[in-house]
Symmetry: C2
Amino acid sequence: MTITHHEPFIRHCYALARQAAANGDHPFGALLARDGQVLLTAVNTITTDHDVTRHAELNLISQASRQFDPATLAECTLYTSTEPCAMCAGAIFWAGVPAIVYGSSAETLGEIAGGAFVVPSRVLLAYGQWQTAVTGPILPDEGRAIHQAYWPSR
Amino acid sequence: MTITHHEPFIRHCYALARQAAANGDHPFGALLARDGQVLLTAVNTITTDHDVTRHAELNLISQASRQFDPATLAECTLYTSTEPCAMCAGAIFWAGVPAIVYGSSAETLGEIAGGAFVVPSRVLLAYGQWQTAVTGPILPDEGRAIHQAYWPSR
């Protein structure tokens, strides 16, 4: 799997992130792919749902675990516009999705948005009994621009 | 706040955990308290909801952030039958609940249930820009007995 292969999926996540911002939510989007096909997409809905847990990846894993069996989830890759926070990395782990590919890094988000809780996903997921592969950043300039447009005061 | 003060709330969480197991879910329960009053309770619903994200604390924080404003959440303590996993500790952090009190430790759960992803909550929450106080274990023997009854083969 080359980096170039991942780019269309990360561009899709960035489009979802822009859609979330247009909805009035934070600019994050994620999707689940298997064999190069997109199975499911999700956006951040923390403002529209009045629920701090409604990050894009948490929404995605919640829907995915209701729709797909563990064997299917074990063949998926989760793509996300920004490296997942601890809550979302935990959800991805519990779902048994073995691969995460992110656009913007958590550190970049932290620089631009304030970084209340920057936990490197590779460090966190190293606590797991099974391995979750983490790849990124991918197309970081486009990701940075989305964050800079959303949190312009920093 | 003495340890003894916490015990009735942890006993309540243990009762919720036993209720979750009776429902067919994993044996975990949590509650939100303010000024010694219980505002909200939640149980694990991962089996009944077919959703791996439906841990007791995640359910609790989801409901709490829909019902209460940030100023109220900032005055609450989250009690839980077992030390929260990384996903749930993240959710508690994002909600701005400043105090967690747990019954059984994550290490005890890990010993009995297998420990797929044991992340000490104090280590994880140290990454936060604001402090979350973590207290526990409280009444650990009662917590251990609940886990041993649920995961008897280990």
